[in-house]
């Protein structure tokens, strides 16, 4: 069972990961966007970390709702309402239970991802964060390590895609050949979740991770270098 502290640790780990990778997220965004994804995500997740440290809520649902609200308020770009909705919808799905099962976590994240799809109108294949989140949630039934590998693979698979949503879609064919920044930051969030859930990161150590995924699940952090 997962308690409020687990979700706090997830989001603090995500904030640390975003902080480490912010410059690279901005670099990816400068190729097909407006070069603010890293800056915006760092500002948003720093606000999340501050809010959780100063007043950690008692339930998993409340942790996610609080974090989602911070992201909506503080990011300043489209990733704010999108990630904010992901966490807020997932938090609402968890209800007021003090502890939740991994199955409940999976269902809540699925509800969050569905809410992101409704909000932005995107579907997998549009070169958005859904290209990492949708396979991650689908793989979550096999474990957190499998979800991390699926998210990472999904983010890598956005490179040849043509953007059909958001600012990058204005570029048309010129968006092909670049990795989507939103899918990349989504993979960081899923990797942080796997990290705090204790999923093994070394190839061969995690029996739940299918072998084709091991090559992208290597290392103690998610490497987003091309």
């Amino acid at each position: 069972m997962r308690d409020a502290d687990f979700f706090c640790r997830w989001l603090l780990a995500a904030a640390a990961s975003i902080e480490r990778e912010a410059d690279r997220l901005t670099e990816l965004d400068s190729a097909i966007g407006d070069a603010d994804h890293g800056v915006n995500m760092r500002r948003g997740f720093a606000a999340v970390a501050e809010a959780l440290r100063s007043g950690p809520p008692d339930t998993p649902g409340a942790v996610l709702v609080l974090a989602g609200r911070q992201l909506i308020s503080r990011v300043g770009g489209a990733s704010g309402p999108l990630y904010g909705t992901l966490l807020r919808a997932a938090g609402k799905a968890l209800g007021e239970a003090a502890e939740v099962s991994d199955e409940a976590v999976r269902e809540a994240l699925a509800a969050g991802v569905a809410a992101v799809g409704r909000l932005g109108g995107a579907v997998p294949g549009d070169k958005t964060m859904l290209d990492a989140l949708t396979p991650a949630v689908a793989a979550l039934g096999e474990g957190y390590g499998a979800a991390r590998a699926a998210a990472q693979e999904g983010a890598l698979a956005t490179v040849p895609l043509r953007a059909r949503k958001g600012r990058a879609s204005y570029l048309g064919a010129r968006s092909v050949g670049h990795r989507d920044p939103g899918a990349t930051s989504s993979a960081l969030l899923v990797a942080a979740l796997a990290e705090v859930a204790g999923a093994c990161v070394s190839p061969g150590d995690d029996p739940r991770t299918p072998s084709p995924d091991k090559q992208v699940a290597r290392g103690d952090r998610t490497d987003i270098a091309e």
């Binding site: 489209a78 704010g80 309402p81 999108l82």
Partner: protein, 133 residues
């Protein structure tokens, strides 16, 4: 619900939101006050500030509903996120599917004439049908 509908204009730019608000009020005859601009970010840059949007909606809410017009991207997504599962906006707040400038003029003209939220929404959405060529 005897008061007029409130109007909130959301743009990535504070200047755009404020200027469109002044222009719409002027084109509607000048007397409409239940309108607020929510443009740009808190640090003065281009972007969207959810708290600014929520404060603007509360400021213009007189009980007859609040019509929100937004330009694009994060402005639209932020309003939709606030409407989807938040309690930050007053009840009877609606995002209008309309172009920002033309929709704002239509909304303010209709609201200042005493039209309800549905009439304001219809007038603003109708702005899409005015072809320019």
């Amino acid at each position: 619900m005897s008061d007029t509908v409130g109007v909130v204009l959301v743009s990535h730019s504070a200047e755009v939101a404020e200027s469109v608000a002044r222009m719409a009020v002027s084109l509607a005859g000048g007397g409409f006050t239940r309108i607020a601009a929510a443009g740009g970010t808190a640090d003065g840059g281009f972007g969207t500030d959810a708290d600014r949007i929520a404060a603007a909606a509360r400021a213009v809410d007189g009980g007859a509903g609040v019509a929100v017009l937004a330009d694009l991207g994060s402005a639209v997504l932020t309003v939709r996120a606030l409407l989807a599962d938040g309690d930050e906006l007053p009840p009877h707040t609606r995002l209008l599917d309309a172009p920002l400038v033309e929709g704002a003029v239509a909304a303010v003209v209709t609201a200042s004439a005493g039209g309800g939220l549905a009439a304001v929404e219809a007038a603003a959405a109708d702005a899409y049908t005015y072809r320019k060529t």
